[in-house]
Amino acid sequence: MIQEDALVLDQKQISDKYFKLTLKSQFISNNSKPGQFVNVKVSPSITPLLRRPISIHKINKENNSFDLLYEIVGAGTEILSKRKVGEKISVLGPLGNGFTIKNTPALLVAGGMGVAPLYFLAEEMKKASIDAVILIGGKRSDSINCEEDFKKLGFNVFVTTEDGSKGEKGLIINLLRNHLNRQAIYACGPKAMLKEISKMAAHKKIGCQVSMESYMACGIGSCKGCAVKTKSGYQMACKDGPVFNAEEIIW
């Protein structure tokens, strides 16, 4: 892990609220695994005070950089979206445990911004010749990201939106029912979704890893701020997680 002022190589607005940021870092681009994240100081100002955790979305080995895919949800991400090419942003990472890649047919389930770490995961699966199917769910068509990117990797992608404006209409859970023949689930998204998925996975006895969100301060395990309730007590999302075995979580 490293804390460094990373150069902004690119900042692209993907749609209304979604941005992709490319940051230069030899260390992070060489030492990260899918499911890990960086803790980002969106501006040098003391407001917003705390770093914001953002998943590593993609590694660009060719220029020692990595991408973050993020959604504007509040002041911090808003300020981040205004940072420009050539500026430097302080990042701390790579942090957390990341996904454990199993050598079995995989099902990747993304709710909204949950695609961010799962794309990195899919790339690694592709490299390891693991077959994967990707489910992406969101509120509206414009909250569905990366569909084409996953397809370019050669994976099957299924989309569902709550208002039916893209893919099937409904919740991702419904989509999931058709794919319970897979042997490992990797999920990232809102807590309610993860809970449903893990219930279903437990029922079908499919191994399931979930990436849990939590407010963070230090990002490295020192402050005990990002507790997640598990069967072995409170675990730290930033260090013991953010990826947990679904059956470990007390929802």
């Binding site: 490293i2 804390q3 003391i46 917003p48 005070l49 705390l50 230090c218 402050c223 701020g225």
Partner: protein, 281 residues
């Protein structure tokens, strides 16, 4: 080299309790610090409060960790040996529910040469029993400090809470009880509400405010306390830069601690140590 409460330190800059663990050794050279104050240790392991435990506020943050820690036995078995590998003085922060607990913990800790000093936490606002109930009452403060003082030869730092009408009364009581040094301030009791859910942002409802927002309160209390007592004072509260640190020295502090500042910039504490060389403090 400086000497705070008889503890030899390379400089007067310490990592504040609850905000700094050995994880930081991956990011900075911990041996450069004046001292590390470990997270409050309690007699029994403590699970801490339910999440969410932290949230951000203007130029500050609230936490309601609730003293999650492994408990005295595990601390002695794992954390002390781990810290013995560093060359930085370890000061152990102690929290208890009763005087007997404080005394017992301090006695046990005093047997370990890695432990260079004790900091009594009588100021945590996030637990239901003990702790801050001592820190808001001068008589209880004095009684507790006196009891602990008798039980250990280690340098004794007493950490005060800002959530009182008159900090100097508590400070004087702690000194009367036998405190070698006072550290202040612990967090200011605060609260935030999520207006979308209409619920408190912390599961514990209230939490402790830290970070730059509280610096003016900490500076004031250090200043007032420095006028009221003769023992050295360790200033803490909202320090993120060397300028902040210097402000505390001018307010009357002999040393400082960095807490929330490390979350924002893991190197802050090193930058402060380097920066202080430019000042004649």
């Amino acid at each position: 080299m400086v000497k705070i409460a008889g503890i030899e330190m390379k400089n007067p800059v310490m990592a504040a309790s609850g905000t700094f663990g050995n994880e930081y050794s991956k990011l900075i050279d911990i041996n450069k610090l004046g001292a590390v104050i470990s997270k409050s240790v309690t007699l029994k392991p403590k699970a801490g409060n339910p999440p969410p435990r932290i949230c951000e506020t203007p130029a500050g943050m609230l936490n309601s960790i609730g003293l999650q820690n492994e408990g005295l036995d595990a601390f002695i078995k794992t954390t002390i040996p781990m810290f013995s590998l560093f060359e930085v003085p370890l000061i152990v922060n102690v929290a208890g529910e009763t005087i007997e607990e404080y005394v017992h913990i301090c006695k046990q800790l005093s047997k370990h040469s890695t432990v260079k000093g004790l900091e009594l936490n009588i100021s945590c606002p996030n637990v239901k029993k003990g702790c801050i109930t001592f820190g808001i009452d001068p008589k209880a403060t004095e009684k507790l400090v006196k009891a602990v003082r008798k039980s250990t030869k280690l340098p004794l730092i007493v950490k005060l809470t800002p959530n009182v009408t008159d900090i100097t009364q508590i400070a004087k009581a702690a000194v009367k009880g036998g405190a070698d040094v006072l550290s202040l301030i612990n967090t200011v009791l605060g609260m935030a509400i999520d207006i979308k859910t209409k619920k408190p942002k912390l599961a514990n409802i209230t939490g402790g405010l830290s970070g730059p927002a509280i610096k003016p309160i900490a500076i004031r209390m250090v200043y007032q306390t420095a006028q009221a007592v003769k023992v050295p004072i360790i200033g803490v509260g909202g320090i993120t830069t060397v300028e902040d640190a210097v402000e505390f020295f001018y307010a009357g502090a002999s040393a400082i601690q960095v807490g929330t500042g490390s979350f924002i910039d893991a190197q802050a504490i090193i930058k402060i140590i380097e920066g202080l060389k430019r000042y004649q403090i």
